[in-house]
Symmetry: C2
Subunit: 297 residues, 2 copies
C-alpha cells in the first residue's frame, strides 16, 4: 500500500472563467486520489468539524482513512486566483485552522507501508513522520516556497531523509540558489536525494538519477481550465504507480514519471478534483500509450 501525508483543504479557486468556492482540495487530497487509481492508498491528514459530509464520503470512497482525523475547529482553507493565462496564481488568503497544531502520527496499520509520499508539509514534520514507518522501500517528498523561505535548513534535512524529491522548477531554483535545472538537481542529489524530479508544468518534467536524465515533454492539451493540484496529482500518480508495481527499478521510475505527467494532464482539464474523479476505465493506460507513440520518431 501507499501512505500519503499532507493537507486536505477547502479551496476557493478563482479562474478567469469560473470561481469555485469551498471545494475539496489540498495537496494530499489530490495526490492520494491520483494514487488511488493505481493502489490502495491511506491518507494521513486533518480536517475540522466544518468538513462537509459529501467530501468525507467522497474521500472515503477512494482512500483508507485510518489516518484521517476530524478535530474541533475549522478545516484548512485556501483562496487563490489565477491570471488569464492560468500560469500564475496569487494567494488571496490562507487559513491554517486545525492544521496549525496537527501532530500527525502513523496509524499502526500504515507502519508497514513500503511506499510513502510526504506532500508539501512542514519539513520538520515530514522528516519526523518518515521515521515512524518500519519498512520503507521508497519515500518521496515535495516542498513549497513558504518552507524554503522560512525553514531552508529543515528542507535540506528532510531531503536527506527520503529517497526522492519532487519539486517544481521555480522552487528548485529558490531552494538550491542555482538557475540551471541540472545544477539544481545535482545540488539536491549532493544533499542526499537519490532521485530528483523537477516538474515544469505544461513543459513536462526532468527526472534525475545518478548521471541519468530522463526528460519528458508535457502531454499536449488544448483545453486547460484549472491547474490546481496538477503537481500533486503528478506526484501521487508516480507513487501510486510504483507502489502498485512494488518496484523501484529505474525503468519503472521512468514509467512512473510518465504516469505522473498523464495524471497531471487529466487534473487540469476540469475544475478542482473533477479531472481526477471522472477518469474512465482504461483511459490512463490509453493516454500513456498515446504519449509513447507521440514522442516516437
Amino acid at each position: 500500500m501507499l501512505t500519503v501525508f499532507g493537507s486536505t483543504a477547502l479551496d476557493t479557486i478563482r479562474t478567469p472563467k469560473k470561481t469555485l468556492k469551498n471545494v475539496l482540495g489540498g495537496a494530499a487530497t489530490y495526490a492520494a486520489i491520483s494514487a488511488s487509481n493505481f493502489v490502495d492508498t491511506g491518507l494521513i491528514a486533518i480536517a475540522g468539524r466544518d468538513f462537509p459530509k459529501k467530501y468525507h464520503d467522497l474521500i472515503a470512497e477512494h482512500l483508507d482513512l485510518k489516518g484521517f482525523t476530524i478535530k474541533d475547529g475549522k478545516t484548512f482553507r485556501y483562496d487563490g486566483k489565477y491570471d488569464k493565462t492560468l500560469s500564475t496564481r496569487a494567494t488571496l488568503k490562507t487559513q491554517l485552522n486545525v492544521s496549525r497544531d496537527f501532530k500527525p502520527t502513523v496509524p499502526e496499520d500504515y507502519r508497514k507501508s513500503q511506499f510513502v509520499y510526504l506532500a508539501n508539509n512542514d519539513p520538520e514534520q515530514n522528516a519526523k513522520l518518515i521515521n515512524e514507518f518500519d519498512n520503507v522501500k521508497f519515500s518521496m517528498c515535495d516542498t513549497i516556497d513558504f518552507w524554503i523561505s522560512t525553514k531552508r535548513q529543515a528542507v535540506i534535512k528532510m531531503i536527506k531523509s527520503v529517497d526522492a524529491v519532487v519539486i517544481n522548477d521555480e522552487e528548485a531554483r529558490l531552494l538550491t540558489k542555482e538557475f540551471n535545472l541540472i545544477k539544481c538537481a545535482k545540488e539536491m542529489m549532493e544533499w542526499g536525494a537519490k532521485y530528483v524530479i523537477i516538474k515544469k508544468g505544461e513543459h513536462g518534467s526532468l527526472m534525475f538519477y545518478d548521471d541519468i536524465i530522463f526528460p519528458t515533454a508535457g502531454f499536449p492539451l488544448e483545453n486547460v481550465v484549472d491547474p490546481t493540484g496538477a503537481g500533486d496529482s503528478f506526484a501521487g500518480a508516480m507513487m501510486g504507480y510504483l507502489a502498485s508495481k512494488k518496484s523501484t527499478n529505474l525503468s519503472d521510475i521512468k514509467r512512473a514519471v510518465v504516469h505522473g505527467n498523464v495524471m497531471g494532464s487529466f487534473a487540469v482539464e476540469q475544475y478542482g478534483l473533477g479531472g481526477l474523479l471522472r477518469i474512465k476505465k482504461g483511459s490512463i493506460g490509453k493516454r500513456v500509450s498515446m504519449y509513447e507513440k507521440m514522442i516516437r520518431f
Copy 2:
C-alpha cells in the same frame, strides 16, 4: 541543395559573463551554417563594405555565396543584452544599414533548389522571393514580433505561401491571438501552413501536422552561455536535414525536428557562432542518439 534567405549581421551580444562586439551574426548566417552540416547550402543575403574579410572567408568556407551581395554602406548591426537568466534579451540598438533597401533575387543556380528556408525577413519579401523558385518541394518561414506588430496581414499571407512555419511560442501567441499552443498551431494551419513548428527554447518544441502532434523535450544542458541564434540553428538544421534526405515524409520531418533541437543545443553552449563552428565529426548523430535513448521508457 538548400537555399537560405535572410540577414547576415554584425552583432554585439551582451551576456552576464561576456560581451562580444561586432561578431558575425544574423538569422540566415546561423540557419545556413547549421544547415551546411547536412547539405550544400546557398545563402541569399547582403552585407556592407565593412563586412570583415575573416567573416567573408568563414561563410565562404561553409556556404555557397552566389546569392551573397556586398554593397556600399554598412552591414546590418544588432546590439542586444541578455538578463542574468539568459532567458530574455533586450534590444539596445538595431541599424538596418544596407539591408534596408535590399532587393533580393534568386540566382539562376538556386532556382532549382527544392528546399528553401526564408528566415525572419519582411514577410512581403519572403512571399515574393518564394515565387522565384521553380521546383520547391518544401519551404519554411520564420517570423518575429516586429513583423507581427507592423505587417500582420502580410505575415498571414506569407504563411499561406509556404509549407511550414517555424516560430517561437511567444510569437505564435502574438500572431494568432491565442494563448494555448495547440490553438495557435490550428490557427496557422487554418491559414494554410501544412506544418507548424513551435519552438519553446529550453523546453523543446511542438510540431503539428494534420491532427498529429510531435512534442520534443529540450536537450538538457548544464552549461548555456549564449542563446543567440539557437532558434535559427534549429530551423536551419531542420531544413538541412530534410534537404539531405530529399524527403518530406512525416518520419523524416520528425527526425528533422530532433536535429533542430540538437543543433540548437550546440549553438547555445558557446558564444556567437562558436557552438556551430566547433562541432566535431559524428557528434550531431551522437547527440541525436543520446536524445533518443534519454526519452525512452
